[in-house]
Amino acid sequence: MTDPLLDVDDVHQSYGEETVLEGISFEMERQDVKVLVGPSGSGKSTMLRCINRLTDIDDGDISLDGDSIYDLDVNDLRRQVGMVFQDFNLFAHLTALENVTLGLKRVLDYGEREAVEKAAWQLEAVGLREQADSYPAELSGGQKQRVGIARALAMDPKLMLFDEPTSALDPELIGEVLEVMRELADEGMTMLVVTHEMGFAKQAATDVLFLDDGKLVEQGPPEQLFENPEHDRTAAFLSRLTKLHGGQ
């Protein structure tokens, strides 16, 4: 039996006095697309940040491809785990193309030419060939987020983490980002997504995980969670969310 790609095992995390995660466990196989949902403050973003060690855990363990992430070099771990942020965090002083080439050159030691070639291809894949030489301030929110996705994908990650990738976007720009994400899921990328977009969850997710108050309340395929949730809390939260963000 091969190891799961990601094994989150009884993870506890707290900021000072405040406990954020209380014993979270789940696994992800290759090509899984899991959607994390839950009220704000439930620990979804913290969970993602624990996986690429932007936040350290207090207890439990997380393994990537069978190795504890604490046995890996932190920069090597992060190279293998792409992350997309809610507020994009594009490097403001670099063009779209340079945003993508920076990691290729400084982390993967690509030469200038190879880096530009790969970055151009990656930008084309998210539909931004024309915007390669634009600075972030010259891009729309949806374009920025697609550059953010291209920047993470260029590193050939094993796993992609999405931290509310559409929450900072105007409604009319959400679709273009979700489309890129759906294509990525179809191509077999393993993805862990924090989002309120229930349409995306229903269409693309292999599983939906419902987090509340630092605990994993329930997980299962979307149809099960949406149609037949075990817990009332899950049902209440998902129906409220579906009313608000059911589209796409």
Partner: protein, 313 residues
């Protein structure tokens, strides 16, 4: 006057000043290319004679002669400036050298100091101690310690070529060291402020891609912070142009020293200090104009406020 006219006037004045200044230095370094070393390019005698003549004419005109008297005064000032500017040129050159080297070497020190101040643990305290020590003591005292209390001047003096030809003597190098150390402390604080002005998400994103903290600072934070710092950092440059006059106390024959020396020979202190003020202003405006040009040159839309020019698409 419109903005464009103002710029045109400023650029014209600066161009004339630097044309004169470089011709002057070339002439004096290479043994009198145009005129004998230290001699004015144009003889001030006829201007002085004209001033006397106009003055006499004005006296004869009574009340109506007052504006004519102003012309005479202007001619008199011009002939005075023509006579003494050559003496100030060599001093102004050293002022430029002290300021330029001090600010540049200071910048090289200031960047790691600022980064240590923001991101360091042990280095944070080392940087803080250095910055507070330097900012908390007078620059003049620092120069005195470096020049009189330490054997630095002797060591530098022993280096070949120091003090011969266009290579300045040891006191200048001690002053450069002093300004470097002093300016580094102030520059570090300007840069620290702008590092803190860069969104923390920038470094987080760099780390998330797999860059080390040092690479993240180097390739992501600093390029933005340094751009943001330019306008306030220019202040430090302007200060240094004038603070460089303190080097005269450790025998550096910069602009202020040259002015004093000339004044003790003819006792026209006020006239000479006014002349020096004009030269200082021209140097400062040259510095701010250069930095404004640099700021525009390196501006990126969205980094450092409205610096970019181009707005969102």
């Amino acid at each position: 006057m419109s903005r464009n006219t103002q710029r045109l006037v400023r650029d014209g004045v600066l161009a004339a000043f630097w044309l004169w200044f470089s011709a002057r230095l070339l002439n004096d370094w290479f043994g009198g290319v145009f005129v004998p070393q230290g001699q004015p390019f144009f003889d001030p005698e006829p201007v002085a004679a004209a001033a006397t003549a106009v003055r006499e004419a004005a006296t004869g005109l009574g009340v109506v002669g007052t504006p004519v008297g102003w012309v005479a005064s202007a001619l008199d000032s011009a002939s005075f400036a023509m006579t003494y500017l050559p003496d100030l040129a060599a001093g102004a050159w050293l002022t430029v050298v002290l300021t330029t080297l001090g600010i540049l070497f200071g910048l090289v020190l200031a960047v790691p100091l600022a980064a240590a101040r923001v991101y360091g643990r042990v280095t944070h305290w080392v940087a803080l101690a250095f910055i507070e020590l330097i900012r908390g003591t007078p620059l003049l005292a620092q120069l005195f310690v470096l020049y009189f209390a330490l054997p630095l001047a002797g060591w530098i003096g022993a280096v070949p070529f120091v003090g011969s030809g266009v290579v300045p003597p040891q006191a200048v190098w001690v002053a450069v060291l002093g300004f470097t150390i002093n300016s580094a402390a102030y520059q570090a604080e300007y840069i620290r402020g702008s590092i803190e002005g860069v969104d923390t998400g920038q470094l987080t994103a760099a780390r998330a891609v797999g860059l080390s903290q040092l690479d993240g600072i180097r390739y992501v934070v600093l390029p933005q912070a340094l751009r943001i710092a330019i306008p306030s950092w220019t202040n430090e440059l302007v200060y240094l142009v004038k603070y460089s006059s303190l080097a005269s106390f450790i025998t550096v024959t910069e602009l202020f020293y040259a002015v004093e020396e000339a004044a003790y020979s003819n006792y026209r202190f006020l006239d000479l200090f006014l002349l020096a003020a004009v030269v200082y202003v021209l140097l400062v405006v040259s510095a701010t104009t250069t930095m404004e040009w640099v700021r525009r040159r390196v501006a990126i839309p969205g980094v450092g406020g409205s610096a970019g020019g181009r707005g969102p698409a």
